[in-house]
Symmetry: C2
Subunit: 323 residues, 2 copies
């Protein structure tokens, strides 16, 4: 249950505001985009003047979302009555849009990351929710604001993507109940699902096949490692932002406890993503290399190193610290 005093305060903030800005974290995903678009829709039905900002490039499978092209680009000199920071565990995740926050009269943070310490005037942090989109649904349903079809669609997008199609730990009975309610609002689930999951560009499909084809296995198959070189990307005319889900896919192989993806950013410069299952804590490994993250999802960047050396070092540290 969301604290009712906070809900009342949010309601007051909204009532007293006219010009409102809505922002979410950099490297947009389904939850950040869905949450922005849902909140915008809900505030608009209240007659508010809402600007929204997308913090970075939109992945191909979210481009179908209605009105995304109406995102505001300029914000210097603008002063908002109210600023919403969505799905962002700290100010840094807001990138340069933190300037808008600093220039706003009141600020509200809505998030489900438990590491969020609250950096706004009002902070609604609910780690038990599947997604920020689901918190937004709960807030405005409780406050009896109108949730129209388009808002419902965007909440659905936030939930389905942040739960990996409802299968992650974060989707419990309450999430299924809420999705059931959203479907009753007549959203076009099939069309959304088709756009999110059946629209992978051919070149991305092909590049993934290449990467999977060259996956290596170590330590009695407990570790799967793949690489994504600049020449892979060049071959298919793609950039790193086009590719996601690779490192998660590798973890879904039998016996694999740790999956590693080494991405070449530039000559002798790499970004490493790691995932693990259960008790394998790969954040420790990433910390050794100056990175960090969570127990089961972490990463780091490194430069001025030969690929072969890097691979050897990573595997050594994984064996020592995470298995």
């Amino acid at each position: 249950m969301i604290n009712s005093k906070n809900l009342k305060k949010l309601d007051e903030f909204v009532e007293k505001s006219n010009k409102i800005a809505v922002v979410a974290h950099a490297d947009p995903d389904g939850d950040s985009i869905g949450s922005i678009m849902a909140l915008r829709e809900i505030l608009k039905t209240k007659g508010k003047d809402v600007d929204f900002f997308i913090n970075g490039e939109i992945p191909f499978n979210y481009k179908f979302i209605k009105d995304l092209d109406k995102a505001s680009l300029t914000y210097k000199e603008k002063k908002y009555d109210l600023f919403f920071a969505l799905d962002s565990s700290d100010e840094e995740r807001l990138a340069d849009k933190v300037d808008i926050m600093k220039n706003s009269k009141k600020t509200i943070c809505i998030d489900h990351h438990k590491t969020n310490n609250g950096y706004c005037n009002l902070n609604i942090i609910e780690p038990d929710f599947s997604s920020t989109g689901e918190i937004i649904y709960e807030i405005f349903k409780t406050l009896k604001y109108e949730i129209n079809e388009r808002a419902a669609e965007n909440i659905f997008i936030a939930i389905i993507t942040d739960t990996g199609k409802f299968i992650y730990d974060n989707a419990g009975y309450k999430t299924f109940e809420n999705v059931s309610d959203l479907l009753k609002l007549n959203i076009d689930k099939n069309e959304i699902v088709k756009n999110l999951y059946s629209s992978e560009p051919k070149n991305i499909f092909k590049l993934k096949a290449d990467v999977f084809n060259s996956t290596e296995f170590f330590m009695e198959d407990k570790v799967a490692l793949s690489c994504l070189f600049k020449e892979n990307l060049k071959k298919y005319n793609l950039s790193l932002k086009d590719i996601d889900g690779l490192v998660e896919r590798l973890r879904d192989i039998e016996n694999v406890e740790i999956s590693i993806l080494i991405k070449e950013l530039d000559h002798k410069t790499y970004k490493i993503s790691m995932r693990s299952l259960g008790n394998s804590d790969i954040s420790k490994v990433c910390e050794i290399f100056g990175g960090g993250g969570h127990k089961n999802a972490a990463g780091f960047k490194i430069d001025n190193i030969e690929f072969a050396t890097l691979k050897k070092l990573i595997l050594e540290e994984v064996e020592k610290n995470a298995l």
Copy 2:
């Protein structure tokens, strides 16, 4: 709503029976196995003597299901008071287990395939349900039978697999509501999901990478075609039954309306699976080759033909009849 007269009749049949047999269709999948195991559990809590039969080899990701090893193997000479045919649209789908049906006093069919014409004494055919497992849940919840944790787990397995993780058309608000109820029964969702979706053997992963790597695209990328030869399988020590989901995966590529997988069964003998999106009716194409199926999922077998000739013929008929 399931016809209440039928529910009453089912209840009477069960009450009057002691020895009960439960069977589902050949080539077992999540819905057939989950339905069998859920129904067995529910009938056992009523004190019934239940035998169940698995019609064919169990795919790797269902082998974790509890008590599957208790399947009965022998059935000749056995006479049951009641026989359940689950998820089987016709008698043929019961394979040789149809003999048990013929030797039973009463028979009940529970299914969600709309083509099912009803071949038992009592037929509960509900095409609006996501899965046979969900019908079983609805039947016994309404009849107020006990649905214990293990029954709930198996119903969950039936639903999650037959809806492709809740995303297919067949999962509407009612399905999400039912899953929410199942989760309240304390089933171990994470463990089930891990077993179903994070346990792909390394060799299957590798073989899929090979197959994806060699996918060809035709007709402005509207058609994706892959082949699975015996030598592919041999390389990884696998058999055809180990591999599924390939043809569906190909359909999820941008612009692809029709996906085709040609599987080599033997020298000059092939099994072809096809999937399509929206209005592309590939059952027409498969009928030309003596096969059939549904508008968006169909197939056929063919022998005594060279691979190159077959491929050419299929592509010609697809272009003529399905695009």
